[in-house]
């Protein structure tokens, strides 16, 4: 399986912005994640949804980037949600207690079998 470079595309309005993430979320996604947050903040969005549907791999350095984005958003008075997570990564978001601070959408049961394309990690 190849390493897939990370990209983040921002869309939305002043009410809600969506950051569509794609690729491997690791330390190398640093600049892309920061730029995405800056862009979402420029929209003055009060709520930011991180869409992970096209993310096949998240490691601990990727989690650190989410923590950093979450820190900025909270400081700026924005809420952050996550969608499109596989069951495995939802479990990791719960173990790390990221889910205490981010609403996790697409509530599939943890431990459910996932397709190869969607699981990836």
């Amino acid at each position: 399986m190849e390493i897939v470079e990370f990209t983040a595309t921002v869309s939305g309005t002043a009410e809600a912005a969506t950051v569509r993430c794609e690729g491997d979320l690791n330390g190398r996604a640093d600049a892309a994640m920061e730029a995405a947050y800056t862009e979402a903040a420029a929209l003055d969005a009060t709520q930011i949804t991180l869409d992970f549907e096209q993310v096949g791999y998240i490691n601990s350095t990727g989690i650190a980037l989410i923590v950093r984005l979450l820190t900025s958003a909270r400081a700026d008075g924005r809420t952050v949600r996550a969608s499109g997570l596989t069951a495995h990564y939802r479990q990791i978001f719960e173990i790390t207690r990221l889910s205490d601070y981010m609403e996790i959408l697409d509530d599939a049961p943890i431990g459910a079998a996932t397709t190869a394309g969607g699981e990836g990690a």
């Binding site: 650190a64 950093r68 990791i92 790390t96 990690a121």
Partner: protein
């Protein structure tokens, strides 16, 4: 102590103060040339020798010919006199109860010119009588005073340069000796630790700057038993390393002839006594472990007693005996114990317990016994002991002695049940380059694909492997593509075992790293990173870290469930 310049011949043209229009600098240059050549500081504690003037003035011979040594002991009043003298001193007229003065008179010295630099007497210029048999004139003395004042600083500089060169050479010699000692030492340390099912074995050897003679060894013995030796040679440097090497060889040889640790030590002692250098000996503990039962039999030649953490507390396994190499015909008593599942054993050298904190308090046995009470898995005990030691000694600690630690832990939990026969699924290495953790993860996933692990459990294994590989790359290889990370995947009927080995370039993985706390991270009290070990532990059933002082291996165990 001082070395003084050789006397110049009286009436030497270079010394002729009566030369009209003579250039003072030129005179000094001519005069100090032989002085520079002849001056030097001795490291000998003996009194300084003062080369004196030849009694007969033969200019061409006297300047370069043999000199007569005159000792000036530090206690001789002549030194104090010259220190405060304002110019040349006529030895014949000097009324001083001084053996050095008598020796100078005997040697034919007529005039002594003190060479003083920055208030310190650094030498003397000794002159014999003038060839003309006339006394030294006032002009002569004035010129000599001027010359001495100008020459002394130059001579002092020459002395300092020579001292520094000597010290640098001595430092280089010591460092070279330490390099040799380290090389010898490392040649004899095991390159691999025993790989025993249900046992986690870790070892650490940390040399002091002046390498001591610590060693440890694992020796395969009949019946699947393992001989474990930990020793410490008195003295440091190359002599200690050579004795260590010899002891290591003798123990290995004797372990093939007997399975009794007492007999092995007794025979080793008999061989070492006749060849042991004076004032040297070896403390050594030799244990024989039966991994199948946990039974351990040991004998002790004056070494620290091992600690065993049992379900009922921490105990010492006591056995006594003389160090190796001191006296012939020594018998070594044996003691035995059992390491139960979940129990640990520590063998160590005194570099650990004799370490001091900045207030000069010793680490000590009670502190070590207290540390042993904590139930760590595998090498976490070793890592924690080192962390505790470093916290105790502080960051500026200069390690006083070698430190050797060997820990054995009989696995508890999932490992209590035998894993059964192991099958190697794959073995490979990857360059220690950022991003290759993904490659490791995918190759491990491919290797276990046929086992039919449940998808969610496979994902957990993959995340743990990815994080362990990332640590190995980032810390063990420091991101260097030329430093590889080794990976092996084995399976047993009970579990999947992944081992990831790195070169530990950044030292061991800290076992007590601050647990990540999302509240603290969001509050800016912790860095956003620091999730790796936490995730690994959460993803697999067991994580164990072992080190042999050169490499570090993280072992991940995922228990297989029914149908997998």
């Amino acid at each position: 102590m001082r070395d003084c310049p050789k006397a110049l011949p009286a009436d030497d043209p270079r010394n002729d103060s009566r030369t009209p229009g003579s250039d003072g600098d030129d005179d000094m240059t001519e005069l100090t040339r032989p002085i520079r050549r002849l001056l030097g500081r001795s490291d000998s504690p003996e009194p300084a020798a003062v080369p004196a003037a030849p009694a007969v003035a033969e200019p061409s011979r006297a300047a370069d010919g043999p000199s007569i040594a005159v000792d000036i002991p530090e206690s001789d009043p002549l030194l104090a006199y010259l220190q405060t003298a304002t110019g040349p001193v006529e030895i014949a007229k000097l009324e001083l109860d001084s053996p050095a003065v008598a020796a100078m008179r005997e040697a034919g010295v007529a005039l002594v010119v003190p060479l003083v630099s920055q208030g310190e007497l650094i030498g003397t210029l000794n002159l014999g009588p003038r060839l003309s048999e006339q006394d030294y004139s006032t002009d002569d003395r004035r010129l000599l005073t001027t010359l001495a004042a100008q020459a002394a600083p130059a001579i002092r500089v020459a002395q300092l340069v020579r001292e520094q060169a000597h010290e640098a050479a001595e430092r280089e010699r010591l460092e070279q000796e330490m390099r040799v000692a380290t090389l010898i030492q490392q040649q004899f340390l095991p390159r691999e630790l025993p790989n025993l099912p249900q046992w986690q074995i870790a070892a650490y050897y940390g040399p002091a700057r002046a390498v001591g003679g610590d060693f440890y060894d694992f020796i395969e013995m009949p019946g699947g038993r393992i001989g474990i030796a930990v020793g410490d040679v008195t003295d440091k440097g190359v002599p200690a390393a050579l004795v260590m090497a010899r002891t290591h060889s003798v123990l290995r040889a004797e372990a093939t002839r007997s399975d009794s640790p007492g007999e092995i030590l007794a025979r080793a002692n008999a061989l070492l006594v006749p060849e042991m250098p004076a004032r040297m000996f070896v403390t050594c503990l030799f244990a024989v472990l039966d991994p199948a039962t946990g039974r351990i039999v040991l004998a002790n030649a004056g070494h620290n007693l091992p600690y065993v953490r049992t379900a009922n507390g921490v105990i010492e396994l006591r056995a006594t005996g003389m160090p190796l190499g001191l006296l012939p015909d020594i018998r070594y008593e044996e003691t035995e114990g059992t390491i139960d599942p979940g129990s640990s054993m520590l063998l160590y050298s005194d570099g650990l317990v004799e370490a001091h904190d900045p207030a000069n308090e010793m680490y000590g046995f009670p502190r070590l016994a207290e540390e042993m009470k904590v139930d760590d898995a595998g090498s976490e005990l070793l890592d924690r002991l080192l962390d505790t030691l470093h916290a105790f000694t502080g960051p500026d600690w200069e390690q006083e002695d070698d430190i050797t630690l060997v820990t054995l832990r009989r696995a508890a939990g999932v490992s209590d049940e035998p894993h059964g026969e192991s099958t190697l699924l794959t073995e490979f290495s990857v360059p220690g380059e950022e991003g290759n953790e993904r490659l490791v993860m995918d190759r491990v996933a491919a290797a276990v694909e046929h086992l039919g692990l449940q998808p969610a459990r496979l994902e957990r294994l993959k995340t743990a492997v990815s994080e362990a590989a990332m640590n190995a790359i980032e810390y063990g290889s420091q991101g260097r593509p030329d430093i590889s990370v080794e990976v092996s995947v084995e399976t047993t009927p009970r579990a999947v075992v992944v081992r990831i080995t790195d070169q530990a370039l950044s030292g061991p993985v800290p076992s007590d790293a601050e647990a990540p706390d999302i509240d603290a991270k969001l509050a800016g009290l912790q860095k956003p990173r620091g999730w790796g070990l936490f995730l690994i532990r959460a993803m697999v059933d067991e994580m164990d870290v072992t080190t042999d002082g050169t490499t570090q291996t993280v072992t991940l165990t995922l228990v297989r469930e029914e149908g997998e």
